[in-house]
């Protein structure tokens, strides 16, 4: 005879230490087993799209910063190449290179937060602080270049706000050689730790087909074993000039597409990003960065869907212009917004503690989900 258990509804958040911000999860439990997770969003809905309609094109850039605040550079990146395409501007080589360097450094910084907070969710406090210590070094690089630590407003339509700082190249190379061994240390301290492996392997397995149907992108999709990266599959800017690998999940300690794979793909991606930064620094041409800055940003009537590979996944800007200086509509396809939708599917039948592990492995940013 099966025991009859009472269903319990547990409410996690919006203030909960590990919902990565202000997400509220309504968890239905049977004993400690999860039967359904309903995410309630909107606790950080800051009306980005409304603001975009009221601003001129360059004024929207500071607001794109504030969407995925862990990867502001990349948000700028996607928006400006979208607008540049509408205007038909070709930016100078140097600008392209600098953008890629910044974007990849930003990817590392974003993954650092993702990995660190994931460790925190699992209960390991120390790797989080080590990663934040290293992230501070990247922030310094950004700060000497554009003066801000978190929200940069660095990439402009047709150019950049500042040229690189004279010390930038040296400091970046120093950072690369400093950070490489630290990845190994992270792996030894956390990734290969038996407790960590037990907590994450075979948890929240995401099969490839489900992932595609749900529109999952970024490291989460790649962890399911599909080699799909917009930098390769739909190259924008000058990504086709660099030599890098696309890490995919292989199920080293469990099944392909589990939480551990999602974690490990990010670790590997950091190494690849370092590689890209190194190459870009070697090839960096001289030139004037402000050559292509348009006097007035006023794209012709039309629409465009521009997507870039944000650290979290595919970041798309659907921009409609009505021929004035203000965008008519800017809709953002936020990667975290789409990625979060899979949570219910993944966490069915797992324990409460696993929801935390799964949610952390999806690497969401609430600023982007709610916009």
């Amino acid at each position: 005879m099966a025991l009859k258990t009472e269903e319990l509804v547990l409410n996690m958040g919006p203030q909960h230490p590990s919902t990565h911000g202000v997400l509220r999860l309504e968890v239905q439990l049977e004993g400690e087993l999860v039967t359904k997770v309903t995410p309630h969003l909107g606790y950080l809905h800051r009306c980005f799209e409304k603001h975009a309609e009221a601003m001129t094109y360059p004024q929207v850039i500071p607001y794109t910063d504030r969407m995925d605040y862990l990867a502001s550079m990349y948000n700028n990146f996607g928006y400006v190449i979208g607008v540049e395409k509408m205007l038909g501007i070709q930016v100078p080589e140097r600008v392209e290179y600098i953008r890629i360097i910044m974007g990849e450094l930003q990817r590392i910084a974003s993954h650092m937060v993702a990995l660190g907070t994931y460790g925190l969710d699992i209960g390991a406090f120390t790797p989080f602080l080590y990663l934040f210590r290293d992230r501070e070094k990247i922030l310094t690089l950004f700060e000497i270049t554009c003066g801000a630590r978190l929200l940069y407003n660095y990439m402009w339509v047709g150019g950049l706000s500042h040229d690189l700082h004279p010390d930038f190249e040296r400091l970046t190379r120093e950072f690369i050689s400093y950070f490489r061994p630290n990845i190994d240390e992270l792996n030894n301290l956390l990734t290969y730790n038996k407790i960590f492996v037990e907590r994450t392997a075979n948890i929240g397995v995401l099969p490839k087909e489900t992932a595609i149907n749900y529109g999952i992108t970024g490291p989460n999709l790649r962890a399911s074993g599909l080699k799909y990266d917009l930098r390769r599959n739909d190259p924008y800017s000058i990504y086709d000039r660099f030599d890098f690998e696309i890490p995919v999940g292989e199920g080293l300690v469990g099944t392909v597409g589990d939480c551990w794979d999602r974690f490990y793909v990010r670790v590997l991606e950091m190494e690849q990003s370092l590689k890209i930064v190194e190459q870009a620094l070697n090839q960096l041409p001289e030139g004037d960065i402000n050559e292509a800055l348009p006097k007035r940003v006023k794209p012709p009537k039309g629409s465009i869907y521009q997507r870039v590979e944000n650290p979290k996944g595919e970041l798309g800007y659907f921009i409609i212009s009505d021929g004035t200086v203000n965008p008519f509509r800017v809709k953002v396809r936020a990667p975290s917004f789409v990625n979060l939708a899979i949570l219910n599917e993944l966490s069915k039948g797992h324990l409460v503690a696993d929801i935390i592990a799964i949610l952390g492995s999806l690497d969401i940013v609430l600023g982007e989900i709610d916009r």
Binding site: M55, P58, Q59, V60, I61, P62, Y63, D65, T126, R133, E136, E143, I144, T145, C146, G147, A148, L151, N153, S161, H162, H165, E185, N188, L189, L190, Y192, N193, K194, I195
Partner: protein, 206 residues
């Protein structure tokens, strides 16, 4: 059974590795910056509190228009021709009294968009970041150097000037109108005379 022993061994071994790492870090000097006692120098491009050098401001309102959050509030009064407002440091001539230049620092998003369009480089971001307040209203910064009385005076001045100008204009208009009327009258006269003349001439001819 093998898996069982392997698990046990892996558990113990990875824990020992982890402990080795943290123990090593116990003796690594810490990276902490002890803030109030020790401050790191900020890079020169750093973006913190806005500052306006009113000596150079010409009140062109470009920063306020560039600002995405509309936190800059500028009011200007035109100067009268006799007044000398001086020059900015890069040689531009001022023509407006800036009676109000408020920046609500609490709204500011430190994006630096206001800094670039400024023709005289008078608005810029400083490296001051320690300016927290107990009251919200103290975060509204008034940069205008003019006293309220002075503002009134300038406004009055300008209005007076405006009124005078208006009067002059009116007078001028009147004069013009008169002149025009006169001209018209004269023209008519002319024409008349012409007509007369022509008449006369025709008469002459005939």
């Amino acid at each position: 059974m093998r898996q069982y022993l392997k698990n046990t061994w892996e558990g113990i071994w990875t824990i020992i590795i982890g402990m080795k790492i943290t123990f090593k870090h116990l003796f690594v000097p810490s990276v902490t910056i002890q803030y109030p006692d020790q401050k790191v120098p900020l890079p020169e491009r750093v973006r913190n509190r806005l500052y306006v050098n009113m000596d150079d401001c010409i009140g062109c309102d470009q920063c306020a228009r560039a600002c995405p959050v509309n936190c800059i509030d500028i009011e200007t009064v035109k100067s009268t021709p006799g007044e000398n407002l001086g020059q900015t440091s890069n040689g531009k001539k001022k023509a407006l009294w800036v009676t109000k230049f408020d920046i609500d620092i609490a709204k500011c998003c430190y994006c630096q968009l206001c800094v670039f369009p400024c023709p005289t480089d008078c608005i810029y971001m400083t490296d001051v970041y320690e300016f927290s307040e107990f009251k919200r209203n103290e975060l509204i910064y008034n940069f205008s150097t003019m006293q309220p009385g002075e503002v009134e005076e300038k406004k009055d001045n300008f209005e007076k000037f405006q009124a005078e100008k208006e009067a002059q204009k009116a007078a001028a208009a009147k004069a013009k109108a008169e002149a025009a009327a006169k001209a018209k009258a004269e023209k008519e006269k002319d024409e008349k005379s012409k007509n007369n003349n022509s008449k006369s001439s025709s008469n002459d001819v005939s």
